[in-house]
């Protein structure tokens, strides 16, 4: 009987992968009218003006109130106490802009964790990082988790272009945050 070749991953794998309990998705409001919107700004270049503009447009359109917060560390998911505060202070959260390897994954991870805390989230990432965002969502027990994308890059855009991008992604962001069915499939609309 020959020796078995040992597995170096430290996980028990099967042909279908390791089973994880599915992460719950937060219930959506029917609309954003008058809602409290938390903006979680990840400090990447142009993330602030991008989310500022998304917030401004939502104020105009739905009369939302905004809370702005800067991510503690763009590269990793937010600590538990920050998640708790966000969940208390906000009806919905928008986070971004994930335009790097760690921060795109972290944006999705924050989304999944906040959803479990009952808060609908729209994470915005650039389209170069779809594989890493999807992989992180699956790791967090939310395979197929939906987010909004905008074309890469964002960091080098002029102020005008940033505002243009924010306006372009707005419908997708709204669609991610409200009861589905009224707007086109989110997370896919960016050309």
């Amino acid at each position: 009987m020959p020796n078995a070749i040992l597995d170096p991953t430290g996980t028990v794998t099967t042909s279908t992968g390791t089973a994880k309990p599915a992460a719950p998705r937060a219930p959506r409001p029917a609309s954003l009218d008058g809602k409290r919107v938390g903006l979680l700004i990840n400090t990447k270049q142009n993330a602030r003006p991008f989310l500022d503009e998304v917030g401004r447009l939502l104020e105009d359109r739905y009369g939302v109130t905004l809370t702005k917060r800067t991510k503690v560390n763009f590269a990793v998911p937010e600590p538990e106490d920050v998640i708790k505060e966000l969940a208390t202070d906000s009806d919905v959260v928008i986070t971004g802009v994930g335009d790097c390897g760690s921060c795109s994954a972290a944006a999705t991870a924050d989304g999944v964790v906040l959803e479990a805390a009952g808060v609908p989230v729209a994470a915005i990432i650039t389209d170069s990082f779809i594989p890493t965002a999807d992989a992180m969502a699956a790791l967090r027990g939310a395979p197929g988790y939906k987010y909004a994308t905008t074309a890469h890059p964002v960091a080098v855009l002029t102020e005008d272009k940033v505002r243009e991008r924010a306006a372009q992604v707005l419908d997708d962001v709204v669609a991610l945050l409200v009861e589905p069915g009224k707007v086109a499939e989110p997370g896919k609309a960016e050309a």
Binding site: T9, V76, C100, G101, A106, F129, P131, A135
Partner: protein, 368 residues
């Protein structure tokens, strides 16, 4: 641990010139290697297939419990224990005796803030820079002389590879998925330098990390790339320092208000500085004092928002902005052969923890 060094370029080839080949079955070995590829475990190069007896030999080199967790990457929900680390070290081609060094290297790596953060996932694609000090260098047959950055020597080549395989397999960070390096760098997971203590005029590097001279230790930080400074042109040590300073200063690498570089000096440069009365601290202070740019120079590269000052404003046009401020940002290591005046500026990703980790071997119980 044996003191015999049969590794490296000078190692004799086994005698297989006579008679039928009595060695292991190559067809079986190839099947085992392909099996490892098919499972997605490889970094691209062939792996050593690991059996339980080989794993046991690794685990026998340490007092640590095989179940002890030696590192975790919270953001991906994965961790690694001693057993899994040993399997990866064996797969990488390490000998069992290297395992205490792998464990020390991994502990040192996980002290790096950038490694615990998003370093392994980063678009910058950094590699660990592993520095080995002390008697273990000779005991295990590390290269401490020419060709310090490799290749040709089994411990130098396989120990950093072991670390890379742990990150790939135990943490699950795979290229194009959770690993998003734009270009990475040549030599990722291959950079392991054993300091040339014998020809260094200064204290061993691990002493700068808090481990006493004479104790085997490993120091690790992350690097994005490195660039040589070839200066065998002058007897004036200040000219050489200016030449190194010029390379440290390269604008392309600057993305934050502060940077960090390791100076891996060849023995010739190090001895020239020491002969002029300079300590490591003097070399570091030279760089701290002189490396930087004016606001205008940053602006010319479109990086006017890089030289951010503590008050939140940016360096003015003619204002000189220093890019280094503490010795910890300029680790100085001596490596390579004393055969030419060629040193290396190693660009650090983040900042070295400033601590070195002793190599702890299994306790030997004396028999009476």
């Amino acid at each position: 641990m044996t003191a015999v060094n049969t590794e490296g370029a000078a190692a004799a080839a086994p005698d297989s010139s006579t008679g039928p080949n009595p060695g292991p079955d190559p067809d079986e070995a190839q099947r085992a290697i392909e099996y490892c590829y098919e499972r997605g475990w490889s970094d691209g190069l062939p792996l050593v297939p690991v059996s339980q007896p080989l794993l046991d030999a690794f685990l026998a080199t340490t007092d640590k419990d095989p179940d002890e967790i030696i590192g975790a990457l919270e953001q991906v929900g994965r961790d690694v224990n001693v057993r899994t680390a040993a399997i990866n070290a064996a797969m990488a081609g390490c000998r069992p005796g290297y395992f205490p060094v792998v464990l020390a290297a991994f502990e040192a790596l996980m002290r790096e803030r950038a490694a615990r953060g998003g370093g392994f996932q980063s678009t910058s694609g950094p590699s660990p820079l592993i520095v080995v000090n002390g008697p273990v260098r000779k005991e295990l047959g590390f290269n401490t002389a020419g060709g310090a950055f490799g290749p040709g020597f089994r411990p130098n080549a396989t120990i950093p590879r072991a670390v890379g395989l742990i990150v790939r397999n135990a943490f699950g960070i795979h290229p194009h998925v959770l690993e998003q390096a734009t270009q990475g760098l040549p030599g990722r997971w291959q950079v392991c330098v054993a300091e040339n203590e014998e020809e260094s005029p200064w204290e061993p590097f691990a002493e700068n990390g808090g481990v006493a001279d004479g104790v085997s230790a490993v120091s690790v930080t992350l690097t994005r790339t490195m660039e040589f400074v070839d200066n065998r042109h002058t007897p004036n040590h200040e000219d050489v320092l200016r030449d190194i300073q010029d390379t440290v200063n390269r604008m392309g690498s600057l993305i934050f208000p502060q940077t960090s570089v390791a100076l891996v000096l060849c023995p010739e440069h190090a001895q020239m500085f020491a002969a002029a009365g300079l300590s490591k601290a003097d070399v570091q202070n030279w760089m701290i004092e002189k490396c930087g740019h004016t606001g205008r120079e940053f602006q010319a590269a479109g990086k006017g928002n890089v030289p951010r000052k503590p008050d939140g404003t940016f360096a003015a046009d003619d204002e000189f902005h220093r890019i280094l401020s503490t010795p910890q940002q300029v680790p100085v290591i001596v490596a390579g052969a004393k055969n030419a005046a060629i040193s290396m500026v190693v660009r650090i990703f983040g900042e070295w923890s400033g601590t070195s980790v002793p190599v702890v071997e299994k306790t030997v119980v004396e028999k009476k």
